[in-house]
């Protein structure tokens, strides 16, 4: 204890800086960024992120020096109500430091990469003034993510949770006026926002229940009390953990709320890498790991979580097989891998889940960034091609008839290996890591999850193993379609490698993705022991399973088979330009299902959005009391007639799947539009409302 108080004054007092440095970077760029060059703006933002990483490392070292003893650094008193108090306190323990290291480390690399990427992107999209905005948002995101992981209470976690959601929303809609029909990106942002809101309701309910039951939101106090409450009324804890799961399905894109993540790829690629692959979406995994002392008390909840994770892993992996958009494949792969992590932490294999979180952050960030490099390479090629033919293009003005060129469509690629060598090699590393080929990082982390699953939950184990097979297959498919074979478009022929500022972070990430497995080799279990400090503080026993050869063999074998199959379909005989996907012939409607994402969006639309809109109409009819119309003049009568007509005329607008968000919005708008008609503008009407209120109140009092 003495050592603890002594060190709080030491390096640990730096803890608040992990939030304030990125904030400072953000504010600086906001105030002065307009007058600085792009390089300087990007440099400052990257430096802020890098400095945060340095602090995180220092915290980690300090923590190691005192054998992982958790430290709470008080910062400010925040909310005091009676006995209830929540302070701004920073919790430094091995779990939070791990998250900080990942967020700041990967974040810094992505910042550096973005300096190159955004430089070109803003030119391509035609608004260089947004370069600064991008880095402002990115720094804000780092700050918010830090609040999320370092907070000492569920309330602070929630603040960060909302904050990163806001950043995600802002960055998905970064090119808000672009996308399909000029609103595609905005709709994607909206969808992410609304779907996450559903998850947030879960989070809020969880917090309310927590507070109601425990009377506090601080981690230590909650976990201290939890066993007591579990002994008397375990239902409370079950409720809390299930509500939390709803939040997790929203933020970490699990069934049934995963639909927003693929659409979120509308944001710039570095955003997809940082927020929608490496960090923010793993917040749900972190939340469950953080709440381990609660989850371990209710095995029923654990089962639900594990099953949700397993199903998601499997389900999303099948969808990824059918995608042609390079980023969509990775997006569904992310959903699937998040499923692995959620399944792991759900089963109680917190170390395995966190380990996979870390290695996934490495290789998935790598893959996304590399895909960004590919996309820009394609765009550069397209640009060159366009310019080369400019003079002989002039006479024939058929350009508008051709569908617009899509630099993200893998069917337009092929043969890029020769033109983009660095990108190709790092992509191979990332893909092999993701596929789980030893000795890359993905193998070890995935293997550990499978190992735990084989002991804890057979259903989940089977689901995950099949998912792992699909993973290898779709990554093989992608590599062959993108990099090997012959170019299938003029742009692919002219594609160019990206500048060093982009490839350097790629190489570093590739090294991390390659050697990341060393963190937690089966024997020494370094990472496991590191995390145990945190869990032991709450008296959770973490047993380490011995390495199991059969499990490793099966998964490796399946991965190799997957890659071989991919080679059979896409490698042996590379895809020709305009050629149908060979899988369609073999799988038939199943492949269509994969391509169409199993019609989930359509089903949601049919099951929720449409009934919602219908219901809102019916409801509105009743809310919009006839009374008002009868009472007053024809204006209102005519209005109600029109509403009725509109109600009858309303046609089921099927097919606009991606407008779930808009659908929800419109429904509410309808209700609102109906309700505002009560406000007729006639004073006597208002007086009547007031009088009715009086009559009701007095009536209640007298008749009660």
């Amino acid at each position: 204890m003495l050592s603890e108080t002594a060190t709080v004054g030491g390096i640990f007092s730096l803890a608040p800086l992990v939030v304030f440095i990125p904030l400072a970077g953000m504010i600086f760029n906001m105030l002065f960024g307009g007058r600085l060059s792009q390089k300087l703006v990007g440099g400052i933002a990257s430096a802020a992120s890098g400095l945060t990483f340095v602090i995180a490392v220092l915290l980690g070292v300090a923590l190691y020096n005192q054998h992982g003893e958790p430290v709470v650094v008080p910062f400010l008193e925040w909310i005091h109500i009676g006995a209830f108090q929540v302070d701004w306190a920073f919790r430094v323990d091995t779990l939070s430091v791990t998250m900080m290291l990942v967020v700041a480390g990967v974040g810094t690399l992505i910042h550096v990469y973005s300096v190159g990427y955004m430089h070109e992107d803003v030119i391509h999209q035609g608004d260089p003034s947004r370069f600064r905005r991008f880095f402002v948002f990115m720094n804000l995101f780092i700050a918010m993510m830090m609040i999320l992981v370092i907070g000492d209470s569920y309330l602070m976690l929630f603040v960060g949770w909302e904050g990163v959601g806001l950043c995600s929303y802002l960055l998905i809609g970064f090119w808000y006026e672009k996308g399909e029909n000029g609103i595609g990106n905005a709709i994607a942002g909206n969808k992410a926002f609304i779907v996450n809101r559903i998850g947030d309701v879960g989070m809020l309910l969880a917090m309310f229940t927590l507070f109601w039951v425990f009377g506090t939101l601080t981690f230590d106090e909650v976990f201290e009390l939890a066993p007591e409450i579990a002994a008397t009324t375990p239902a409370y804890i079950g409720l809390i953990t299930l509500f939390m799961l709803v939040g997790v399905t929203g933020k970490s894109a699990q069934i049934p709320l995963y639909v927003w993540l693929p659409d979120a790829m509308a944001g710039p690629t570095p955003v997809s890498a940082l927020i929608h692959a490496a960090t923010m979406v793993t917040a749900g995994v972190y939340l469950i790991a953080r709440s381990a002392p609660l989850y371990t008390l209710v095995p029923e909840s654990q089962n639900v979580v594990a099953l949700v994770g397993g199903l998601t892993a499997f389900f999303a992996a099948t969808i990824a097989v059918g995608q042609n958009d390079i980023k969509k494949v990775l997006a569904y792969s992310t959903v699937s891998q998040l499923g692995f992590m959620v399944a792991a932490v759900g089963m109680g294999a917190f170390v395995a889940g966190m380990f996979h979180l870390v290695s996934h952050a490495f290789f998935k960030a790598l893959l996304f960034l590399a895909s960004g490099s590919v996309i820009q390479g394609m765009e550069r090629g397209h640009h060159l091609e366009h310019h080369a033919h400019e003079h002989d293009l002039k006479p024939r003005k058929k350009k508008s008839k051709e569908p617009p060129f899509d630099p993200q469509d893998m069917r337009n690629m092929g043969g890029l290996a020769g033109r983009m060598r660095t990108t190709y090699w790092v992509y191979i590393v990332g893909a092999l890591a993701l596929a789980g080929i030893p000795p890359l990082s993905g193998f070890f982390s995935k293997d550990e999850i499978l190992l735990e699953a084989s002991h804890l939950n057979t259903t989940v184990y089977i689901l995950l193993t099949i998912a792992a097979f699909f993973t290898a297959f779709y990554m093989g498919r992608q590599v062959w379609m993108v990099f090997l074979g012959q170019p299938r478009s003029a742009a692919a022929e002219k594609a160019e490698e990206s500048p060093a500022v982009m490839t350097l972070p790629l190489i570093i990430l590739a090294v991390l993705a390659f050697f990341g497995g060393l963190l937690n080799l089966p024997g020494p279990h370094t990472f496991g022991h590191w995390l145990e400090y945190t869990f032991e503080a709450f008296h959770l026993e973490m047993e380490t399973l011995p390495f199991s050869l059969p499990v490793a063999l099966i998964s490796t074998l399946l991965a190799v088979v997957g890659i071989l199959l991919a080679w059979m379909f896409y490698g042996r005989q590379p895809l020709e330009k305009g050629q149908e996907d060979p899988l369609r012939g073999i799988l038939g409607w199943i492949f269509t299902g994969m391509q169409r994402k199993w019609w989930v969006d359509e089903i949601y639309h049919f099951l929720f959005v449409n009934p919602y809109i219908q219901l809102s109409h019916v409801f509105a009819e009743y809310v919009d009391w006839r009374f008002w119309h009868d009472w007053f003049h024809e204006v209102v009568l005519a209005g109600s007639f029109n509403q009725f007509a509109r109600f009858l005329n309303f046609r089921i607008d099927a097919g606009i799947i991606d407008r779930i968000a808009n659908g929800l919005g419109n429904g509410t708008q309808q209700i609102a539009g109906q309700m505002r008609q009560i406000q007729t503008g006639y004073v006597r009407n208002y007086a009547l409302s007031l009088f009715l209120g009086v009559v009701l109140i007095v009536g209640y009092i007298l008749l009660r």
């Binding site: 400010l76 008193e77 925040w78 909310i79 005091h80 109500i81 009676g82 209830f84 701004w88 003034s129 309330l155 603040v159 909302e162 904050g163 806001l166 809609g173 808000y176 006026e177 905005a186 809101r197 947030d200 309701v201 809020l204 309910l205 309310f208 507070f211 109601w212 919005g665 509410t668 708008q669 209700i671 609102a672 539009g673 309700m675 505002r676 406000q679 503008g681 004073v683 009407n685 208002y686 007086a687 409302s689 007031l690 009715l692 209120g693 009086v694 109140i697 007095v698 209640y700 009092i701 007298l702």
Partner: protein
């Protein structure tokens, strides 16, 4: 009562008596100002209120009854006085350029504003139902006139007469309610009522509760809760924006001050009897305000519905108050939320005023398109206000909502809290739409640059974020203000 006592009591109420005299002086000064120099009254009125704040602060720590217990000086009244005078100051700051620009520069504005403030201050210190009634009228009547200030514009006239008619109607209920309470207790003094109730010598508890219910109607009208809210959108839209900005904060704060004094202090037994009624009113208010706001395209109307919705949130604490041991905490949460709401609301109105043009143009959501590109600062400030309205961290609105919900949950009203949370999620839809318009639509909004309006927007925005960190001391202050008198 001797002359000495009389003079002593006058000094107890010094901020109030001083401000009334100052208003009278302004009235005379106005007569001697030429028509194009009426703007001079603005600094004079501001000076008067600034001095008033100083006088109020000097009273901190005092606790006295004045004029045979008609009025009280206590922590609560001082807190409210400072709040009201601050509201008045911002009201002047927002109006100075606006009135000139709109061709409405009339001396009456500043004078009526000061008179209205005196009414609010009286409301804060009222310790007798006579005072409550007088204060209510003293603050309302100038507001009726102010709403119609822009005559002969039809919208303004309509707003004035609607507000007046409904206000007079509602005060009829208040007076009758007071009559019934007086009839059942034989006194109008708040402590007297309290002792009659606790001694159990009520003539008829049922009629007494009806009286309380009728007072609730009148005060509910002032703070605009469903179903007594109908005047709000029309009046907010029709009245000149500067007036609306002042009214929406001042009248609401005063209304809640009175609700707290009357329902919570004087009629605790009624407060619990009426709990189901207030529960329903609060729920309806939150739902209706937030849902109907979605359909609004006019920013003034949108803010009007928003103000209705927030009245619902604050009213929740009067539900929770009935639970034992929560009184001080509930009232403190309400005061805190009131302050957060006032800051946010003033900021939002400052932006509205900056964008408004003559003849009611520049008030549609579309007119906010592209504000983010053209006037980054203003747009960021507006974003902060919208976030604070929604209750998103890190803004004071979030902390305020947190305290409110906390009290409500502790009182055991989980469902009410749930409605509150869900409706504030709904509210995100229309608040963020303003943000979407500002940052994600293109347009060329014209903005009037006025230093006072900009200052208001900047200071409130910065305050909303910065004060989040000092939430605890602020809340402590609110709690102390309450505990001193309760």
């Amino acid at each position: 009562m001797s002359i000495q006592e009389f003079l002593r009591d006058l000094t107890y109420l010094l901020p109030f008596t001083y401000l009334v005299s100052w208003a009278a002086v302004l009235l005379i000064v106005d007569l001697f100002l030429p028509d194009d120099r009426k703007g001079l009254l603005a600094p004079l009125a501001a000076l008067g209120m600034a001095v008033g704040i100083g006088l109020s602060i000097l009273q901190v720590g005092q606790q006295q009854a004045a004029f045979n217990g008609l009025a009280m000086v206590d922590g609560f009244s001082i807190f409210m006085n400072v709040l009201f005078l601050g509201i008045g100051l911002v009201g002047v700051a927002l109006a100075y350029d606006y009135l000139k620009r709109m061709g409405l520069e009339r001396g009456e504005y500043y004078i009526l504003l000061v008179f209205s403030i005196t009414g609010m201050m009286l409301m804060g210190s009222a310790n007798d139902l006579i005072m409550v009634f007088l204060a209510l009228e003293l603050l309302s009547i100038p507001l009726y006139v102010l709403s119609g200030l822009a005559r002969p514009q039809q919208a303004s006239e309509e707003a004035g007469i609607k507000y007046f008619l409904m206000g007079a109607f509602a005060s009829g209920f208040v007076v009758f309610g007071i009559a019934l309470i007086f009839g059942m207790t034989g006194t109008t003094s708040i402590p007297g009522i309290v002792s009659t109730v606790s001694s159990g010598t009520l003539l008829n508890p049922l009629i007494f509760t009806v009286g309380g219910g009728l007072m609730l109607v009148g005060l509910g009208f002032k703070v605009a809760v469903v179903p007594f809210h109908m005047w709000t959108p029309d009046v907010y839209e029709g009245a000149p924006s500067a007036v609306t900005a002042f009214m929406s904060n001042g009248a609401k704060a005063a209304g809640f001050a009175a609700l707290i004094r009357v329902l919570v202090v004087a009629l605790p037994s009624i407060a619990t009897d009426l709990t189901p009624v207030i529960w329903i009113i609060a729920a309806l208010t939150m739902i209706l305000g937030n849902v109907v706001a979605i359909a609004q395209r006019n920013i003034k109307r949108l803010l009007a519905y928003s103000s209705i919705a927030h009245a619902g949130y604050i009213l929740m604490v009067l539900v929770a108050y009935g639970s034992a041991g929560l009184a001080a905490q509930a009232v403190a949460a309400a005061l805190f939320y009131l302050v957060a709401y006032t800051l946010t609301n003033f900021g939002a109105w400052a932006v509205v005023i900056a964008l408004e043009k003559k003849e009611g143009r520049g008030l549609m959501l579309e007119d906010y398109s592209g504000l983010g590109n053209r006037h980054m600062g203003l747009a960021v400030a507006m974003t902060i206000f919208m976030l604070s309205f929604t209750g998103v961290p890190p803004t004071l609105g979030f902390v305020g909502k947190f305290y409110l919900f906390n009290v409500v949950i502790e009182g055991g009203y989980i469902w009410l809290a749930l409605i509150g949370v869900l409706t504030s999620l709904v509210s995100a839809y229309y608040y963020l739409r303003v943000v979407v318009y500002m940052f994600m639509r293109d347009g060329e909004p014209e903005v009037r640059r006025d230093v006072w309006v900009n200052l208001t927007a900047g200071v409130t925005a910065a305050g909303l974020v910065a004060l989040t960190i000092f939430a605890a001391p602020l809340f402590d202050w609110a709690t102390r203000a309450v505990l001193a008198g309760f």
